[in-house]
């Protein structure tokens, strides 16, 4: 400022009364505007942060859910007609226990990537859908599944299962149960409907799986067609 020429100096001298300071009204107005602006900004940041937390939580939940659903879908695609010998009748059976709220099957897919076929069991618990896993070995895996530790894979959901079978005339129908030890085969497809439990309808989306089971017949055990059609 020391290098100002005479013209500038003249102007400043002229404006001296204006530059002396702000009036009270100006200061109040400026403070009010600043407060309003800061208020708006902080509330905006607050809203975005809240939104972020909620969305990232939902995103994480939906990613976890999507991963669980993807694993179940892949396991159903890899479902295998696992055979075992029934101890009482000494007849050969196929393991697949399908009910409307519970499903047990054997799959070539193993979440731990362990060798060999894996028995899966999905069922509804009080707080969501649970999964049990046990090695299929070469016999009936039911007892091992009962003893296996359950893992909550979809919290706050309930699962409903349907099973596709074909009539002799080729028409297809969804059933709400499928017993592999009677039918001696697997269904053509499995439909799983995951719906949010009561109270979580507004937070969670319903999820669906339609998995086609291509390896639905054992290579040497013939399906019990009469049993299927009579039902």
């Amino acid at each position: 400022m020391k290098t100002c020429n005479g013209l500038q100096r003249g102007r400043r001298v002229k404006r001296t009364p204006v530059a002396r300071g702000f009036t009270l009204i100006e200061i109040i107005l400026a403070l009010a505007l600043t407060a309003m602006l800061l208020g708006l900004l902080s509330s905006g940041v607050f809203v975005v942060t809240e939104d972020w937390n909620r969305n990232s939580g939902r995103l994480d939940a939906s990613l976890d859910g999507a991963l669980a659903v993807l694993q179940v879908e892949r396991a159903l695609v890899g479902a295998f007609p696992h055979s075992y010998t029934d101890v009482e009748s000494l007849s050969r059976r196929i393991y697949f226990e399908g009910e409307d709220s519970r499903l047990g099957f054997v799959s070539s897919v193993s979440p731990q990537r362990s060798a060999g076929l894996m028995a899966w069991q999905l069922y509804n618990g009080e707080d969501g859908v649970y999964l049990k896993l046990a090695p299929a070995f070469s016999d009936d895996p039911v007892e091992r599944l009962e003893a296996a530790e359950a893992v909550l894979i979809l919290p706050d959901y309930t699962a409903e299962f349907r099973y596709l079978y074909a009539e002799l005339d080729g028409s297809k129908e969804w059933r709400d149960d499928w017993q592999g030890d009677e039918f001696l085969s697997l269904p053509l497809a499995v439909y799983v409907n995951f719906t949010p439990l009561d109270g979580f309808d507004d937070q969670l989306e319903p999820l669906e799986i339609v998995a086609r089971i291509q390896a639905n017949q054992h290579r040497s055990i013939r399906p019990n067609v009469m049993q299927q059609t009579s039902l």
Partner: protein, 359 residues
């Protein structure tokens, strides 16, 4: 000059307010942008995964069609592959795991490999004598006869129809005492090749072996066709070593192995004596189809050498085992594994070999 100082202070406070506002606005915009970016990336990857899954399914169907067409009479005037000696190459031998170009092509970046199960050791057809030879081969030089007998007895007890324990064998009493306990199959018909890992001592015996690549439980063939054999199956065959296996693989890339005489061109006589009872020229009607998206990007750390055949880095693929019945029916699906483990797909690991074909 004294009047100028308050003016400077006012300008500074305005700048500070403007800067703070800018910082807050920047944080606001950055937060929103990163959220949008994450969602966009999630959606993009989901889309890629869905597209790849659909393309894999399509390629599997085309591979099945290829196998059905193989059962049809060959079209008149079809250009057949011919060896340097002018011999026609057997088209069915292309199902030895080499990358295939299908008649009805799949998506360009989809890799399709088909393995005929006559290139694997059949667990249903293996004789006790051959199983013993395989165990001995696996145990290495000078195997302990007691250990061989123990493993052989465990195999016999697992596959026989009764629950009576043989000498040094293992039946329900032994397997139920394990944690978790289970029952032996008591049937020669195993459900899957991995089942042999549950037989006493076999998990250690075949440790590190890709069993699905080496063995099969499908088909009626008792012998292994060297034109179709996987590297894993050949590594288990008595009479073969790594050097001979690589030479065989290099040889069959240009020539068919039609008879034992031609096997003898590669395998020394003393090895051929051991190997002879394992091999045959049959093909089967059971195939493993592997499909996966090709990885084309070369690693920057390990540039491929000039002229060196590129090794496929993929080891896992969608796998489907099918039995082709005839040209009027779709193949029967025997097993599906979305995370199937590929056999060793590397080309022959020999630079050159010296085999003189007779005229």
């Amino acid at each position: 000059m004294k009047m100028l100082k308050p003016v400077v202070r006012h300008r500074g406070s305005v700048i500070i307010i403007v800067l703070w506002t800018s910082v807050l606005l920047t944080i606001l915009v950055t937060t929103m942008a990163s959220k949008v970016r994450l969602q966009a990336r999630t959606a993009f990857h989901n889309q890629v995964a869905a597209n790849d899954w659909a393309a894999v399914q399509a390629a599997v169907n085309l591979a099945e069609a290829e196998l059905m067409m193989e059962r049809m009479p060959r079209p008149v005037g079809e250009q057949m592959e011919i060896t340097d000696d002018g011999e026609l190459r057997t088209p069915a031998y292309r199902f030895n795991g080499q990358p295939l170009s299908l008649n009805y092509p799949s998506r360009e970046d989809m890799q399709v490999r088909i393995y005929d199960h006559s290139g694997k050791i059949s667990l249903h057809r293996i004789s006790r004598r051959n199983m013993q030879a395989l165990i001995e081969h696996r145990l290495g030089e000078n195997p302990d006869p007691n250990e061989v007998q123990r493993l052989l007895s465990a195999w016999t007890d697992w596959t026989d129809l009764n629950d009576l324990q043989g000498l040094d064998g293992a039946e329900s009493q032994y397997y139920q005492s394990l944690d978790p306990g289970y029952s032996p199959r008591n049937n020669l018909e195993l459900d899957s090749v991995d089942e042999i890992l549950h037989i006493r001592g076999f998990a250690e015996l075949f440790e590190g072996v890709n069993l699905d690549a080496a063995f099969t439980v499908y088909g009626s063939q008792a012998s292994v066709n060297l034109n179709l054999a996987t590297r894993e199956a050949m590594q288990l065959l008595p009479g073969l070593n790594d050097e001979l296996i690589e030479t065989l693989i290099a040889f069959r890339e240009t020539e068919d192995i039609d008879n034992r005489f031609e096997v003898g061109l590669v395998i020394p006589t003393e090895n051929l004596v051991e190997l002879s009872r394992w091999i045959g020229n049959n093909t089967s009607n059971v195939y493993s189809i592997f499909v996966y998206p090709e990885i084309t990007a070369q690693s920057d750390d390990e540039p491929a050498d000039e002229g060196e055949p590129r090794t496929d880095p993929v080891t896992q693929a969608y796998m489907k085992i099918v039995e082709v019945r005839n040209i009027n029916q779709l193949p029967r699906v025997l097993q599906v594994n979305p995370y199937g483990q590929l056999p060793d797909t590397a080309p022959a690991r020999v630079d050159e070999y010296n085999i003189v074909l007779p005229n």
